[in-house]
Amino acid sequence: MFYRYLIRINNLTKRYEKLTAVDNLSLDIEQGEVFGLLGQNGAGKTTVIHMLATLLKPTSGSATVNNFDIQKDPSKVRTSIGIVFQVPSSDDLLTGYENLQIHAMLYGVDPNIREKRIQDAFELVGLTDRKDDQVKKYSGGMRRRLEIARGLIHSPKVLFLDEPTLGLDPSSRETMWKYIQQLVKQEKLTIILTTHYMEEADMLCNRIGIMDKGKIIALDTPKNLKLMLGGDVVKLKLKKHDSDTMVLKNLSCVKKMGSLEGYVILGVDDAKKNIPEILKHVEAESVEYSSPTLSDVFLKLTGKNIKEQAEGGFLERYVQYDKN
């Protein structure tokens, strides 16, 4: 059966004694989307996933997954989903193969196709040659990939990836991205992933919901989210500051203007194309430009820096300046 929306969330709320982890969240996710929930730790992303996966009871509100109600029909919801938890949950003492075999049985995968499913899953995540090793001998990245294979063993409609690259080194992270992208291409899957890595969301997702304090505060494609900041930012040191500033004001390609520490900061739609045009009209000692990233969008929306280490580029300062 084909439904346009594979997941429909209606005013979903999870309240603990003092904390509202998820606050009246409503969201529809279409079949075939790769949807990203982006936010800092504690924003409520994992709580949403846990509720959709029927592991946690909502305080109020409702949701359907694959057209099954998460509270009335949890068993069918569970059959419809695969999930990769934040912390790998495979059994260390078992081999990769045994982990998949046991899960295939738990999900009631038809015994006649069980072996084939297991082989396919291993191939998909590139672990075929390691399938008979105990999981304790796997690297962090391999464990995550095994989790993905396990999540796919029963051919689910939706795959939840909760922080799929948390704690991985940069090269394992890139490998992981490669596999996820391949997954999207090969399997007709809807994927929901949570992350606090902006580049990850940007690279993998068709659509992103930015979460803060249990609410979705922005929901759009990565491209449109970035356009919210008014396109690219150009930073100029002008030779004749005052008169040239006047000239710049009248250029059609300049959407926004400000100044910062003796520099002129311009909001421009397409910097690569428009910088030559700008330089025809003014003389500059130095030119720099930067395209906004999702980090900048996040910073602008929440006033918080999502990155573990603040990079403090001029763009971020510009965003802050623009806000005041």
């Binding site: 846990h50 059994d91 049985m105 738990l106 999900y107």
Partner: protein, 258 residues
């Protein structure tokens, strides 16, 4: 046909959970060695040590007298520990991955309980071989009866362990279980002494301890001595199994997944 498929799927799920427990049991070598060694220590050190100076035991050698008690001891330790090991499963999130599968909580409980019973049975088998070495003799019937008693006791105590484990969130609770559950169950069972002439207060405690009935049953079966009839022992063990099994299933149903 539809029903057959359903039964097949259901038994597959229990088999899968059981298989995992058995594989882990054999691979955790240190746990296996330690839990086999402790009863042997009791049997040989306490057993031989008291043999020379104790004459309370129906004119049977003390070491042989405590042999049924040591079998039960091995079941008490393996079953309660196995059950409460579920704390680790939760800590390492394996349990979460099972709970997110379309498997009912009572099925998870059953699979776990079967795993615990298998563990106990394997350890008891080792002890039975040791028993042959020290000169305890069994008829084939006695062997079958012993297995039945061991499985019943193990089911009851695995259920108890799983129940306790399902309410605990930290590993610190483990020590509490050893001090307040495992040791009392063992010491109060009469595994090491006859229960006929105990002071009143102690007698009350041994009467409510389910292990008492397993020890008594095995003494009946293996040594031909016992304080109760084998039928009564079996009946009490059955009641305990049902009650603790039901309690465990209930606890699993209300256990939080995350």
């Amino acid at each position: 046909m539809y029903n057959m498929t359903r039964i097949r799927v259901y038994s597959d799920k229990i088999y899968a959970l059981w298989l995992r427990e058995v594989k882990v049991f054999f691979r955790e070598k240190s746990r296996l060695v330690a839990s086999t060694f402790t009863p042997l220590l009791w049997l040989f050190v306490i057993g031989s040590g008291f043999s020379s100076s104790t004459s309370v035991t129906h004119s049977i050698d003390y070491q042989k007298f405590i042999f049924p008690g040591i079998i039960c001891m091995s079941v008490v330790f393996s079953a309660v520990f196995f059950g409460s090991y579920i704390i680790w499963d939760r800590k390492f999130d394996f349990l979460k991955s099972v709970m997110v599968a379309p498997v009912s909580r009572s099925t998870i409980f059953t699979g776990k309980a079967f795993g615990g019973m298998t563990n106990s049975l394997i350890q008891v088998s080792i002890l039975l071989v040791v028993g042959l070495i020290i000169g305890v003799q069994f008829s084939p019937l006695a062997l079958v009866q012993t297995v039945v008693i061991v499985l019943l006791l193990s089911f009851a105590l695995t259920s108890l362990g799983l129940t306790l484990g399902s309410y605990m969130t930290s590993l610190e609770g483990f020590q509490m279980i050893i001090s307040f559950v495992v040791f009392p169950l063992f010491f109060l069972s009469g595994a090491l002494f006859p229960i006929d002439k105990l002071p009143q207060w102690l007698s009350v405690l041994t009467t409510v301890d389910p292990v008492t009935y397993a020890v008594d049953a095995l003494r009946n079966i293996i040594l031909g001595i016992g304080s109760h009839s084998l039928g009564l022992d079996l009946l009490v063990l059955l009641i305990y199994s049902c009650v603790l099994g039901a309690l465990g299933t209930y606890s699993f149903r209300r256990m939080k997944a995350v």
